[in-house]
Every structure is written in structure tokens, then in C-alpha cells.
Amino acid sequence: MKTALAYQQAGVNPYRPWPARITSILDLTEKEKLFELRIIDDEVRGAFSFDSGQFVELSIFGVGEAPISISSAPSKQGFIELCVREAGDVTSALHAKRCGDIVGIRGPFGRGFPMQEMKGHDVLLVAGGLGIAPLKSLINHIHDERHEFGKVTILYGARNPDEILFRYQFDMWKHRDDFELILTVDVPDDTWTDEVGRVTRLFEMIEIDPKKTYGAICGPPVMYRYVIDEMRRKEMDVDRIYVSFERRMKCGIGKCGHCGVGHQYTCIDGPVFNYWEAMNLQEAI
């Protein structure tokens, strides 16, 4: 588990956010924007390292905090990208911010994807809707260190073409031969030339070697069971399938109790669990 160096120093208040400047804002869809942040303090920024799948607490004083998974790759130094849907007070307040504004960041928190373990293996990533946000970090990481991974398959589904995030990038990737990328929507429009239907339908289009493939899933809660069923049908091992959960959080550091899932806390034990662990967490899937 990676934690910013400062938290390991005695006397540092883990609830105190570090000021970070918004360096870029990209409109992705009607409800989602991609924010690029830069921690202002040089020392803290220098010590900030994370694994894909970890999250930060985004802090806007006067409004509150919200846990947001990091979308950029760990290899991108000095900046953190957050893909944020306007859903509650904090995310709405963030959406109202402009480039140059200052917000607060605490983190990184939680357990991310087992990046070291995954190296040298094939990877199958399945995202639904906003679930692409944490997986985007993993995808970018694999992209940056492409030679470290075997075959990479990405299945990504959304309700309609307007809700496909990072489409500008994925549209280019579709033509690459080092990624197999399949997009699908429930409700297509006139311009849509990719697949139609649930993301689970895409499994019949792909071939994977279950002995050397790691799976990573993130999406709306209802999606997990069906995608895992498909992965199990492909005979993937339960402990090589990784899922990322979203739960209510306040502190992000295992104190406030809100993110309990079964006998674990999503914030410190997750948000990434392997399916074997998740199977043994009550009410998780």
C-alpha cells in the first residue's frame, strides 16, 4: 500500500488536506469532467506516489470531502487526474471550479490493483459507465509500460454513446494492434458503429488464456455479478479477478466507519479486492 511520505512522519494530521491547484479541466460528457491537479507543496508533491486503483479525498472547504479514484497513471509525475461525475455537493462544487482554483487533496488511500503481480501477464479490463475512472489509471499505466504486459483486452460499456468517457482516446486506440478494445452501448445513436448491448455480451467476441490472465472490473454495483460469471465461464481463477468498490466514505483512513463492506473497510482494505476476498465479504456483490 502506497501512502504519501508525509503521513508517515510523526505529527502530521491525516485529516488535513494539502492545497492543490487545478491545472486543467476537460469536459468529457454532460456530467463528467476530467480534472488535472498539482499539489502546491514541492515536498509533498515529490513524495506523492500511488498504485492504480487507489483514491484521494478531494476537499473543498465549506462543502466537504469526497473520495475520488485516481485516473492518471502512477508514472505521470507531479500531476493527478480525477474523472469526476457531478453527483453530490462536493463533486458539484468541483465542477463549478475553474482552472487555477485551489482545492484540497488527502491521500493516496486504500489498496490498489496488484501492479507487480500483474506484470508479465495478460490483462482483461471490464468497465461499466463511470467505472472506467479507476481502470483508466491501470490502462494508462499498462500503456506506459506496454512491454511489461502480455495481451491486453478492454471491454467498456455505457448507456449511450454520449456517456462513453475518454472517447477521444479510445477511438484512436481501436486501431492499435497492441490493445484489443471493444466499446458497447445499451442505446446507440446514428453515429454509433461499435457494439450494442450489455458489456457481458462482449465476452463471446474475445479469447483469453485463463491460466495467464488477470481480470479487473469496475462499474455499477449490479454489473459485477454478471461480469464475474462470464470470467468464471472463461475459467479464470477467482483470485486473479479484481474488483473495485465504491462505498460512502468520510475519513478515507479506517476510522469513520461509513465504508464497511462485510467485515472489511473499503477505504483501507479495498477499494480493490480480488474476487475470492469479495466472495467472502457479505453484501459486497
Binding site: G62, V63, G88, D89, S92, A93
Partner: protein
């Protein structure tokens, strides 16, 4: 531009508007943030045709009130209902308890003159959609300021939804049921820091039934402590006749 705010009083004793004047310490700071274009209690001017935020006290008891509320909803971007009368019907709505006609005859006699356009008292919340509520009789000034602040910043209504026993516990009050007295805190919306109970008086339910109250379970609690459902409901009806409460 500062948001234009109007403060409107319907049928009530204007106690909540008086509470607003009691913000004294901070009133000027708050007034610095808003353009208070009309305040029924404190100004003699006319209500403007355009405004952004409407703060409404009191219950609707005439057709004119109902028309005004609908107009307010169309005009204001944000409507804040303050006080029991506006939120749950409060004292004004007790008139409905015995039936509005019967009640009127009982109070004013057979020959009582009927006010023009009189309607059965109704809370603001039951007539129009409101964006924020500040329940209580009267409102708590801190809570009012907090809600106004949230409204000005466009944050969602966060009025507590659970009953208030938890707050009473944090004040280390001894439970009234242990003393053989009926207390409505067990079903009443929290947010008041259990003020009355802390001052030695059982909760009378002025903040309305908590959306998360478990009424059938509360009925058992009432009965176990020697208060049948009818008695409990008569207590509850002091502030809550506007909605049907089934224990």
C-alpha cells in the same frame, strides 16, 4: 450580484421571523451576503415581482395564501419553508384535527363570520415543492443560518432524517420514559440538539415526524410504557395534524 431574498409570513405568530431578528450578532454579516428586498415583519414595503430566494413562514389558511405560494414557487429559484406551521402545519393545522368546519363552529359559534376565502390550514410543504426546510417551533437561529448558507451555495438540503434520541443521549439526559412520562423524541426529527429535553421538558414533536422513524415500533414503546396509541397520537397531533400519522 447578491441573491434577492423575500421573507413572507402566512398564518402564524411570526415567531420564526422574530427568531430571525434574534440573529443580532450575525444579522449584519448575513445581510451583507443577500439583497433583502422584502421582509414582511420588518419592512413596510411591497413584495417585489422578482426575487431569487423566498423564505416562507406560516401555514396557508386562505385561497390568497395558496395563490401566493404558487406564484412564489414560479418566481423564486429557491424556496425555504421555516417553522412548524410551514413545514408540518404546526399549531395552525390543529384546526384540522376535529374537522375544519366543526372546529370553526366550536370556537366561533354557529354565527361566526367566515373569513373570505378560508381554506383548511395547510403547511407550505404540502402545497408547493420546497427546496429547504427549517423545522421547529420556533426555528433555531443556528440551523436557519446553516440552511441559508447551504441555499446560497447551492448545496442540498441536509435536514436530519432520523429521530432525536441519539442527540438526547449525547446530552446525557435521563430518558423521560424511565420517569414514566411520554416523550415524542423517539419519532421526532432531530436537529434541535434535544434542547427541550435538556431543559427538562419532554419532546412535543415540533420538528415533525422523522422520515426514518419506525412508527409501528414506536407504538410498541408507547404501549409498553403505559401510553396507548390514541394518547400518543393526541400528543403527536399538536404539531402534526397536516399529515396522517399511523402508529
Amino acid at each position: 450580484m447578491a441573491p434577492r431574498v423575500v421573507v413572507i409570513g402566512l398564518a402564524s405568530d411570526f415567531g420564526c421571523q422574530v427568531q430571525m431578528t434574534n440573529i443580532e450578532d450575525h444579522l449584519l454579516e448575513v445581510l451583507g451576503l443577500i439583497d433583502l428586498t422584502y421582509w414582511q415583519l420588518a419592512s413596510s414595503g411591497h413584495m417585489p415581482d422578482e426575487y431569487d430566494v423566498a423564505i416562507v413562514e406560516g401555514a396557508a389558511t386562505t385561497q390568497e395564501h395558496l395563490d401566493l405560494l404558487r406564484r412564489v414557487r414560479e418566481t423564486a429559484g429557491v424556496v425555504i419553508a421555516i417553522g412548524s406551521c410551514a413545514v408540518t402545519g404546526g399549531i395552525s393545522a390543529i384546526a384540522n384535527a376535529a374537522g375544519i368546519e366543526e372546529g370553526f363552529a366550536l370556537v366561533y359559534g354557529e354565527r361566526g363570520r367566515v373569513a373570505l376565502g378560508r381554506v383548511a390550514p395547510a403547511s407550505v410543504v404540502s402545497v408547493i415543492d420546497v427546496d429547504y426546510i427549517v423545522p421547529g417551533c420556533p426555528i433555531d437561529t443556528d440551523e436557519f443560518l446553516h440552511v441559508l448558507s447551504r441555499a446560497l451555495h447551492g448545496l442540498r438540503d441536509k435536514t436530519p432524517r432520523q429521530p432525536m434520541c441519539f442527540a438526547c443521549k449525547t446530552r446525557e439526559n435521563v430518558c423521560f420514559f424511565e420517569k414514566g412520562q411520554l416523550c415524542l423524541g423517539v419519532v421526532t426529527r432531530s436537529g434541535c440538539h434535544a434542547r427541550c429535553v435538556t431543559l427538562g421538558r419532554p419532546c412535543t414533536g415540533c420538528r415533525g415526524i422523522a422520515p426514518e422513524a419506525n412508527l409501528p415500533a414506536a407504538r410498541i414503546v408507547f404501549e409498553d410504557h403505559g401510553f396507548d396509541a390514541e394518547r400518543a397520537l393526541s400528543y403527536i397531533s399538536l404539531y402534526n395534524t397536516n399529515e396522517e400519522v399511523v402508529l
